[in-house]
Amino acid sequence: MDNDLNLTQHISRRYNAELEELRSDVMAMGGLVEKQLADGLIALSTSDTEIAELVATSDYKVNSMEVAIDEKCNQILARRQPAASDLRLVVAIIKTITDLERIGDEAEKLGQLSVQLADKSVTSSQFAELRHLGDHVKTMLNNALDAFARMDVADALRTIEADKQVNDEFESIMRQLITRMMEDPREIKNALRVSWCARALERIGDHASNICEYVIYLVKGKDIRHISVDKMREELV
């Protein structure tokens, strides 16, 4: 699949610079969100309350970046009236940062739940499951941001496909937790917290997948939301 978008060389160099700045702002926001997620996962697996609290209190940085990028997008829409690929870039960015901000919220949740779980007797096997899911989701987010940076449709499609595995893993963790809760009702409180962590991770996978859909929209001009991966491939041929 060719990625034939050339996003340089406007006659207005200032416009070029504005769009470039917007793209690098999104990458910076993506980097921050990745760090929040990584820290959330460390807090979860090491029961380090210091990191957990840091994650829980740093979300404001992600939020303020979202507001700032949103404002820049509004300025470009109002002053430049972008068309074609430029319009798709601005629209894709407005949507991408919403998903990034929600990933930030989920990472914050992980931090808060880690603090609550830190001093409870949660078995290491559950953390192992969560860690595996977490690593998977972290890779997805990383690939989604790479696909955005390189405007790589093939990478974006692969990342969307990977979300199915994340969903399967989430279902599997939920089944285990339900079994545990039925076996020992005293475990319900902790099991619920673990399930919320799993849920947060699964949602991050969905948001990463959304970002990939915007990348495909940006590069190919095709809206492939709400259709199966096979159909997406057909549409993109």
């Binding site: 034939d4 060389q9 406007h10 006659i11 972008p82 074609a84 319009l87 798709r88």
Partner: protein, 291 residues
């Protein structure tokens, strides 16, 4: 009009001639038109139209339809041939002695370049509005009545009054000028003068209206009024508009055609052209990039 085989020979001859200059190299990159040049209900059809000014070829093998009740916007950089093409549609190019048009253009399946076609009658059916408002140095009433008188559309004063008033109403100007119909048209503001010219065009009951940058000399409010008017006129007429303002093309048209160095590069639904053009040259032009 030439036959198809003659046309092909001509095209081959032109191609060999072109390869000597740089413009021709870019032409080859352009290739065949991308998109949907033809519609189900055409009002006017252009097929393989070439236009020459003396030795110089200005339009290369352009084929497209103007559909009934649609606004087609013609866009492209200066000198791309969009105005030349527009002028072919009502034989305005006949007035330029060195201009030669080949190919086929029809209005309701009637060849407009046929020998028995009277260009004056053709221009009543295919009217034109120009970039600069050009009212005659006459009263507002006489400006609008001029064409109707020329073509004998009214048999008495009452009928002429009716034509003038209806045309001014359709052009959205009547309320502003009802008390000064006999004052000079040149005394109106730029936007009003342009609407007066549109009223003058409508007065002879055209089927197609060609507009060559009708709002480029107007302020944003007068422009908005003209654009609103274009949308209303679409109910009764077929409209082709040449414009340098891409936002205007996006606002008023249903289909957009992109011309580049005399060729029709791409034509398609305006929604598609402005969000996802298929040709790189179209993309470069509408996003303001180097070609």
């Amino acid at each position: 009009m030439k036959s198809e085989s003659e046309h092909q020979q001509q095209t081959q001859a032109d191609t060999s001639h072109q390869s000597e200059n740089k413009a021709a190299d870019i032409q080859q990159e352009v290739g065949a038109t991308i998109g949907q040049p033809f519609v189900k209900q055409p009002k006017m059809q252009a097929r393989h139209v070439d236009v020459f000014y003396g030795e110089k070829q200005a339009i290369y093998d352009v084929s497209l339809d103007l559909g009934k009740n649609e606004v087609v916007a013609l866009i492209g950089p200066s000198g791309c041939g969009k105005s030349t093409f527009l002028r072919c549609m009502n034989r305005m190019n006949d007035t330029i002695p060195i201009c030669r048009v080949s190919g086929m253009i029809t209005l309701d399946d009637e060849d407009i370049y046929a020998e028995d076609m009277d260009p004056v009658l053709l221009r009543a059916r295919v009217g034109m509005v120009f970039q600069k408002p050009n009212p005659f140095p006459k009263s507002i009433y006489d400006n609008v009545a001029y064409g109707a008188r020329l073509h004998g559309l009214a048999f008495n004063k009452a009928e002429l009054d009716e034509i003038v008033i209806t045309s001014l109403q359709k052009a959205g100007l009547f309320d502003e000028v009802r008390d000064r119909l006999h004052e000079p048209g040149t005394g109106l503001s730029g936007g009003q003068q342009q609407r007066l010219c549109i009223a003058r065009t409508i007065a002879v009951s055209p089927e197609v209206i060609l507009m060559d940058e009708p709002a480029s000399a107007l302020d944003p409010i007068a422009t908005a009024i003209i654009e609103e008017l274009i949308d209303e006129l679409r109910q009764n007429y077929t409209i082709a508009i040449v414009t340098h303002s891409m936002q205007q093309a996006a606002r008023v048209s249903q289909r957009t055609a992109y011309f580049h160095l005399g060729k029709l590069v791409e034509i398609g639904a305006t929604n598609q052209i402005f969000t996802n053009p298929l040709h790189e040259l179209t993309e470069n032009y509408i996003t303001g990039r180097f070609g």
